[in-house]
Amino acid sequence: MPLVNGGKIADDSFVKLAVDTPLPESGDVLVPAERFIAEADALLKRAGKVGVIWPNNRDIDELVPYLGKVATVALVFPTFRDGRAYSQARLLRERYNYRGDLRATGQILRDQFVFMLRAGFDSFEVKKQADAEAFMQTAKRYSVFYQPTGDGRITALHRRMQLRHSEGVGT
């Protein structure tokens, strides 16, 4: 499953640990939420980055105390029709000011890229190679956005206001 990071297909330095896999001495690890919460101190002390896989039915508030310490937060789309993680992503970015890597995992198709970018994701475990290869092209598919989100893209309403004011200058 290719990882897209920074707009390109990239190597994934993280190893996913199950609840009971022995902890490797070094290297970057992605840990399920319940193990992360239980072993946070030990995990954060070792060499290598730590990321957490946060399920979409677990309250994101619980993760907030650790946001400055994790290298990545992976949110989960068990199927692409389950959109709970979009809300979690926006809360992490817009309410809790999380600035680290935010990764989308699960059933990720190219058809979600724009929504995910707008919600604050920046890396993607894409299901199909062809979709991963089409990332840049797909990400640019839309140039008009009706809603304000934390991604800073200008909304249609505000673009209209700008146009109005710039048109007003000459008259």
């Binding site: 692409f80 029709r81 839309y142």
Partner: protein
């Protein structure tokens, strides 16, 4: 009319090109049918019994004549020469070929029409009063706000994969023609004591398997806060709405399970965080949207022109005028409802030729504007009274002057088993038979206002729960059986109907309805007492007795 600007047009074009890519990937096998299903539903494409069905949005029920002509063109070029207007200000085409869909969408996009979010688990086409902007006594034109919400809900990055579909309706009149109480969110535009515009917000209404009338969650939300308040409701729903069972996934179930007080506290808590964000709408933004709605230059016309006085001698004209013509807020003008319920035909259908001809009439007599209502009829919103006789003659020639608006033959029905893969029973043939039974206008007029709503399955697309008489088709031991309710209504006094007794067979439905109507005629206190009021006064029992006494 709202005119799309370059920004709106660009988005529609970008969506067409995305959908073209999705269809291409499906046809090449790159997308599985399971994957494609969710994607096509986001764009109004269902797989029905015989073919793909394509549902196109008519936001808040307003159409320009070039748009209606484009719909006629799609009906003619890509379908079988007709379209079907639905109960939520959409039009459906029943025989579209998948490979041609992107072209049909592109043709529609040229006149600013799209199919975004007309199905799927997202925020659906925003609906409103079909008389918006012309109804006497309206507080203000609700379409300004409908458009603002339409934009905000279109391709929303957080709420495009909700637990289930989500419908919003808006009205600005005391008499609710938009059925806001049976929507996930219903908005009633009101003014506060300072004269500022805002909304009473209702939540959790809906029909289907578990019908609920919406409850007021907040008595006044200021207009500038309406987007953040809606966003707060959606965020609570997106996270906590049930996803384990599609029959329990609508927001009405969440509201019911939590209770309105707890649900509203959750929303309030969420709203506190986002209320003073960029979701707040300033007056300039509202003015900008308002400025792109154009209104006719009405003439100063007499209340009773000579043309109307002379035409009054024609009894057929008078029957139509009294039935289908309603008062307009401007003196000398009328709102004309065009019945799409001719005797013996499927409710809500219009042919491509009728659509084209109606567009011509709207150009000539209604400042180029047509409206679509949830009762599956159309309306011309600005007809000068002096033009009514000429308009009537032209409509009559087209088969569009059936004087049965709001009468017993003005039936709302879903497509049922004739088209729909979800249906358990036929709806259209029941409607057709009922229109034949009550074809006599004098009889229908004597009965007075009476809404019959028919659904061919529990999903309730025909809104049977809120019909004055509701008919629900189900399947029992391989046979179609129909359950009949009375006393439902979809307006400001919205209520769910009550069963009158055991289900009846297909062949018996029309007889039973005749019995119900005969019972009403015998039971009503005076001719002005409407069916719905007699049911309210007496309850189900006397109707039940009469219907089942001989069965």
């Amino acid at each position: 009319m709202y005119a799309y600007d370059e920004i709106d047009r660009t988005l529609v074009n970008e969506r067409v090109s995305e959908f073209r890519d999705q269809v291409k990937r499906r046809l090449s096998g790159e997308l599985t049918e399971d994957e494609f299903k969710i994607l096509r539903l986001q764009n109004g494409v269902y797989l029905q019994l015989h073919a793909y069905m394509f549902r196109v949005a008519i936001p808040y029920g307003t159409l320009a004549t070039d748009q209606l002509r484009a719909l006629a063109h799609v009906a003619r070029k890509y379908d079988r020469g007709y379209g079907h207007f639905t109960t939520r200000q959409n039009i459906q085409f029943n025989w579209i070929k998948l490979a041609e869909l992107p072209d049909a969408l592109e043709d529609l996009s040229k006149v600013g029409i799209h199919a975004m979010q007309t199905s799927g688990n997202n925020m659906r086409n925003v609906t409103s009063d079909q008389w918006a902007g012309v109804a006497p006594g309206e507080i203000e034109d609700p379409r300004i706000w409908s458009e603002l919400i339409r934009q905000h809900t279109t391709l929303h990055p957080e709420f495009s994969f909700l637990p289930r579909k989500f419908k919003i309706a808006i009205t600005a009149s005391d008499h609710d023609r938009a059925a806001i109480k049976i929507h996930d969110i219903g908005l009633k535009l009101i003014k506060n004591e300072k004269g500022e515009t805002g909304f009473e917000v209702l939540v959790g209404g809906g029909l289907g398997r578990t019908p609920f009338i919406g409850k007021t969650i907040k008595h006044f939300v200021h207009g500038r806060d309406i987007l953040s308040y809606i966003e707060a409701i959606l965020r609570v729903y997106n996270q906590y709405g049930r996803r384990d069972n599609i029959y329990k996934a609508r927001i009405k179930i969440l509201v019911h399970e939590l209770g309105i007080e707890k649900f509203s506290r959750e929303v309030e808590e969420e709203w506190r965080h986002i209320r003073n964000s960029s979701l707040q709408i300033d007056d300039e933004v509202i003015e900008d949207i308002r400025s792109r709605f154009t209104y006719p230059n009405y003439e100063k016309l007499p209340h009773m022109p000579d043309e109307l006085r002379q035409a009054a001698a024609d009894a057929d004209f008078e029957v139509w005028r009294k039935n289908s013509v309603a008062p307009h807020k401007v003196q000398g003008y009328s709102i004309v409802t065009i019945s799409l319920k001719p005797i013996g035909a499927p409710p809500g259908d219009a042919t491509a030729d009728q659509m084209d001809a109606l567009a011509d009439l709207a150009d000539k007599y209604s400042f180029g504007e047509i409206r679509v209502g949830h009762e599956q009829n159309l309306a011309l919103p600005h007809v000068a009274k002096r033009d009514l006789p000429a308009l009537w003659k032209a409509l009559d020639k087209l088969g569009l002057a059936t004087p049965n608006v709001n009468l017993i033959t003005d039936i709302i029905a879903c497509p049922g088993l004739d088209y729909c893969s979800l249906a358990n029973a036929r709806s259209i043939p029941i409607a057709q038979e009922l229109t034949r039974r009550f074809a006599n206008h004098e009889l229908a007029n004597l009965i007075g206002r009476l809404h019959i709503n028919i659904s061919g399955c529990i999903n309730a697309c025909g809104h049977h729960h809120v019909g004055h008489i509701g008919i629900l088709g189900v399947e029992k031991n391989g046979e179609e059986v129909y359950q009949i309710t009375i006393g439902g209504r979809a307006d400001e006094s919205a209520a769910l109907g009550n069963l009158i007794g055991p289900g009846v067979k297909f062949d018996e439905v029309a007889d039973v309805i005749e019995d119900v109507v005969e019972a009403y005629l015998a039971l009503r206190e005076r001719p002005e007492e409407l069916f719905i009021d007699t049911v309210k006064r007496l309850g189900v029992e006397p109707f039940k007795e009469r219907v089942y006494a001989t069965r």
